[in-house]
């Protein structure tokens, strides 16, 4: 299945963030909330079981100057293999002049899945972005499939964060220099002008990026422990 969806949010003359373009294509179904206000709320609903091996999904999100978008998932994503064993892929691209919060639910990498996920964000001078990624290596008692995630965020063309994470190689997943045998890895990227306190514990940290912004990272054995760290920033 090939699908592409597009969402454009702009500020209207009353100071409300309004959805100007909403183009869904199953399984990428965008459901806007009816309330009108300074922040537009849109849910991203997977309207077909996806992604399966062979699927190519693409979502483009543009948020204009002064506008704010809250884009949320409604359910965890299960990465599943297809019958052909082909790779599946998803690309989410943000072009932000205003402010975006992108909070999908966790992604579960089921056994034999083979998926590539890319999140790209281009921010202009004052744009803000908050995005979360929580990965679960396999369902309960299940071996993880393969997943490569890539996040690249730039501000006015300058790189802020560029991180690839590959899971599903048992030698690296188990290594104290890989994922240290933890089943759940979560990150929360916050790109704005706010200075946040650095902090950390045994398997979590909140740190400033070199060119501005904050990254929280947590490793754990369950989603609750990991998201608790991410919720705190």
């Amino acid at each position: 299945m090939k699908a592409s969806a597009r969402l454009v949010v702009e500020l209207d003359s009353h100071g409300n963030s309004v959805v100007r373009v909403l183009r869904s294509q199953s399984p990428l179904t965008l459901v806007p909330h009816r309330r009108v206000g300074p922040v537009a709320l849109v849910h991203l609903v997977s309207s077909v079981t996806a992604p399966l091996g062979g699927d190519t999904l693409s979502l483009t999100v543009e948020v204009g100057p002064g506008a704010s978008l809250d884009l949320r998932g409604v359910a965890a994503t299960l990465l599943l293999p297809g019958s052909s064993g082909a790779l599946s892929s998803s690309v989410v691209r943000f072009v932000v002049s205003g402010s975006v919060r992108y909070l999908p639910e966790p992604t579960v990498v089921t056994s034999r899945a083979n998926h590539t996920a890319v999140v790209e964000a281009e921010l202009d001078g004052h744009a803000e972005l908050r995005t979360r990624e929580v990965l679960v290596l396999g369902r309960s008692g299940e071996k993880s499939g393969s997943l490569s995630t890539l996040v690249r965020a730039t501000r006015c063309g300058k790189p802020l964060l560029h991180q690839q994470l590959v899971v599903g190689d048992p030698a690296v997943d188990a290594s104290p220099a890989g994922l240290a045998g933890r089943r759940v890895v979560g990150t929360e990227l916050v790109l704005d002008a706010v200075d946040r306190a650095e902090g950390g514990g045994e398997w979590w940290s909140v740190v400033p990026l070199a060119a501005g912004g904050t990254l929280a990272t947590a490793l754990g054995d369950d989603v609750v422990t990991v998201t608790r760290v991410l919720d705190a920033i």
Binding site: P159, Q163, S175, P176, A177, R182, G200, A211
Partner: protein, 202 residues
């Protein structure tokens, strides 16, 4: 080739011996305590941080824009402790290099450069630069393990010799990698916060 050998030599006075690449923190937590756990640590480190560093050494050797590469490597190093360790080792290497190779175009480097860029510029050939960097990504932590854990130096050396350092160097020449290692980043941050005696700077 000779430059690569000198840079990879543990006697090179670039200050690399004070960095353990996360091994000290992993050993303090008991995550690395014998040869099998050391092998797992070194393999994970080589395939993530080692590949990343080697890719930037290769790109610098190929004549890439060093200022741009420095910013791209910063974006791929979210942990401030890891950025500082890389720049500290870059500084140390540069200090020794200025005396050893006064004609090298070291002024092309940005101030306070990341170590892979220094290696790339000095070695000048992409694969050799990548190989040097990939090897240093595991040889330093391996010798730290001998010092911290009292492991058998022959056994540790055999582990290093069996690691796929050449494969990683070849992959590093093909594209600019961006592989992160969450656990290494968290070990590096925890190491900075650790109170009490630390033998290593990272």
């Amino acid at each position: 080739m000779l430059t690569a050998l000198i840079l990879a030599d543990s006697r090179f006075p670039g200050g690399g011996h004070v960095h353990s690449g996360g091994l000290e923190e992993a050993a303090a937590r008991g995550l690395v305590h014998d040869e099998p756990t050391l092998e797992s640590f070194l393999r994970g480190r080589l395939l993530t941080a080692g590949l990343l560093a080697a890719g930037f050494a290769a790109a610098a050797a190929r004549g890439g824009d060093l200022g741009r590469l420095d910013a791209e490597l910063d974006a791929r190093t979210p942990s401030p402790a890891q950025r500082e360790a890389s720049r500290a080792q870059g500084r140390g290497m540069l200090r020794a290099a200025r005396r050893a190779w006064p004609h090298a175009q070291l002024d092309l480097l940005p101030p306070n450069p990341h170590q892979p860029l220094v290696i790339g510029l000095l070695v000048g050939e992409p694969y050799e630069a990548a190989l040097t960097c990939a090897y240093l990504a595991v040889s330093g932590p391996a010798s730290a393990a001998v010092r911290l854990l009292g492991l058998d130096p022959f056994g540790v050396n055999a582990i290093v010799a069996a690691l796929p350092v050449q494969d990683v160097a070849s992959r590093a020449c093909k594209e600019l990698p961006a592989l992160g290692s969450p656990a290494l980043d968290l070990l590096a941050e925890a190491h900075v916060r650790r109170e009490g005696v630390r033998l290593f700077g990272s």
